[in-house]
Amino acid sequence: MVRIKERYLLVNILYPSEIGVKPGVPDVVVINQPTTDRLTPQALLRGIRAEVADTFGDFGSGALEGGGLQVKYLSNATSTFILRITRAQYRMLWTALTFMDHVPVKDGKPCTFRVVHVSGTIRKVEEAAIRHARNLMFAVKDQAGEKDRAALEAMFDQAKRTRQAARAVMPTPLNVEDDSGDEDMIDISDDWK
């Protein structure tokens, strides 16, 4: 039996231009912030078609029509979506995503589209999406944890200074526990990178 070969692209919408605007929020959270609810699958498709037409002209538009472009999944909360396209045209679609620089709605924010995973079956792409989201959680926890630890250490330092004589050794067991927990996180986030 002949079957149509397809490619599924897992894409993340990233917002890099807001790094450092809000001081208290970790960078990972800012980059992966939720997308506006005005972005619907239809709007996304319209944006992609326009970009392909801009870059590849009529040839590209036609190829996309024949390629059966579909939005299989769109999550505004995690800024993630999955696209389906025939295998012959997926690079064209990917290029169009690379060229897009704002959310394809009216007055859309500047953003970049990053293709995280390309796969031949939707099951694998789903697994990849879950894995990616998990790693993201760890990265956020890691960054937030770092801040907490810094605050804790500052407190302990102050405590040390006020009653320096007697129990300078006391905070060590706490610190050790903290460190070991943190190292685990660092390992995971490094894997992800």
Binding site: L14, P16, T55, T95, T98, T112, F113, R114, V115
Partner: protein
């Protein structure tokens, strides 16, 4: 390791914009980036105006470290290393930042003065615009002077890239730089520029057959950065094979950085000091003593083990347990298989 050897910098770039770009570049997975200073008119006394970042102290300018040769150099270096570790620990969100100068070759007088930049920047590149400059860059600019030929692919070149000068440059160790930021930027402005960029890229890939190409961003704003996979795909569509594209992000720029580093640190770009052994007499003596102790203890342990294990051969204490087991097994096998044969014969 992924490299992005061109983050555009100009005097009007603010620190916060730059930090934003660097942070996003790190989160996309780039390990080392270079801030690029485009030198269009060669100043009479060149200076390096690029801002410094804390993570830089660990990698660049290692000469100061190795120059320290006092008695307590060991301690000092330890302290330095610790400080660096602390700094990098605090700024894990930033990649390694290098400094780079790109010299426009339009001014013939400036070409002779490029070596002056070597001490100021980590990487030096040249940017030719005409055929004469291009062939000069390919065939005559020494690898010690500049290791990158950066091309502004958005302008229409009045000549074709021919394989001979291009391959001569690649085989001499020079690399061609392709900046994808130019084409992302081009979409907003003149629609022809993107077409010209694509045309130039295809011609360059045809001339070099995809070898010796370094891919970088030349991002002026943070939105002009793209993930490594996206970039590789982009160039794959325009004719650069995917594995060549990966080389352009990893192996080739690494070669450029290492080469430039050795040119600056090493002797004639051939001999390099990787690590200096401790020369302190007192320290050496204690180390030797520690070694002696270690040996003694080891010997003692071996003896103890030998004493415990009655089957071990007493003469060679150096034989390892594993080896002994192997020998024993061999001996048993020999005993099992050869004795009947002997009996037969």
């Amino acid at each position: 390791m992924l490299y992005d050897l061109n983050i555009a910098w100009s005097p009007s770039t603010t620190q916060s914009e730059l930090t934003q770009t660097l942070k996003f570049s790190a989160s996309l997975g780039y390990n080392a980036v270079a801030l690029n200073h485009l030198v269009e008119i060669f100043p009479p006394q060149p200076k390096n105006p690029l801002p410094r970042f804390p993570s830089q102290t660990s990698q660049s300018r290692p000469t100061t470290k190795s120059a320290a040769s006092t008695n307590d150099s060991g301690n000092k270096e330890d302290k330095n290393a610790q400080q660096n570790q602390n700094q990098t620990g605090d700024d894990r969100s930033l990649p390694t930042v290098l400094h780079r100068a790109t010299v426009c070759m339009s001014d013939p007088a400036s070409v002779h003065r490029i070596p002056q930049l070597a001490t100021l920047y980590d990487i030096v590149a040249v940017r030719p615009t005409t055929e004469k400059e291009f062939s000069h860059a390919c065939q005559e600019v020494k690898i010690e002077v500049a290791s990158l030929i950066s091309l502004d692919l958005t302008q229409k070149f009045p000549f074709h890239f021919r394989p001979k000068p291009c391959m001569a440059a690649v085989s001499r160790g020079l690399r061609f730089e392709v900046c994808y930021g130019q084409t992302l930027r081009a979409g907003a402005g003149d629609p022809r520029t993107r077409a010209i960029w694509i045309g130039n890229l295809m011609e360059l890939v045809r001339a070099t057959r995809g070898r010796g190409i370094v891919v970088s961003s030349e991002a002026r704003r943070v939105t002009e950065l793209r993930g490594p996979a996206d970039v590789v795909n982009l160039l794959a569509v325009w004719g650069l094979a995917a594995e060549k594209g990966m080389e352009g992000l990893g192996v080739n720029p690494r070669g450029v950085v290492v080469n430039e580093g050795i040119n600056r640190r090493g002797y004639r770009g051939v001999v390099d000091i990787v690590q200096v052994a401790a020369r302190d007499n007192g320290e050496g003596a204690t180390a030797a003593a520690a070694g002696g102790n270690g040996k003694k203890r080891k010997g003692g342990a071996n003896e103890g083990r030998g004493g415990g294990n009655s089957n071990a051969p007493p003469a060679d204490g150096t034989i390892s347990k594993r080896q002994a087991k192997k020998l024993k097994k061999l001996a048993m096998e020999d005993g099992g298989t050869t004795t009947p044969e002997e009996n037969k014969s």
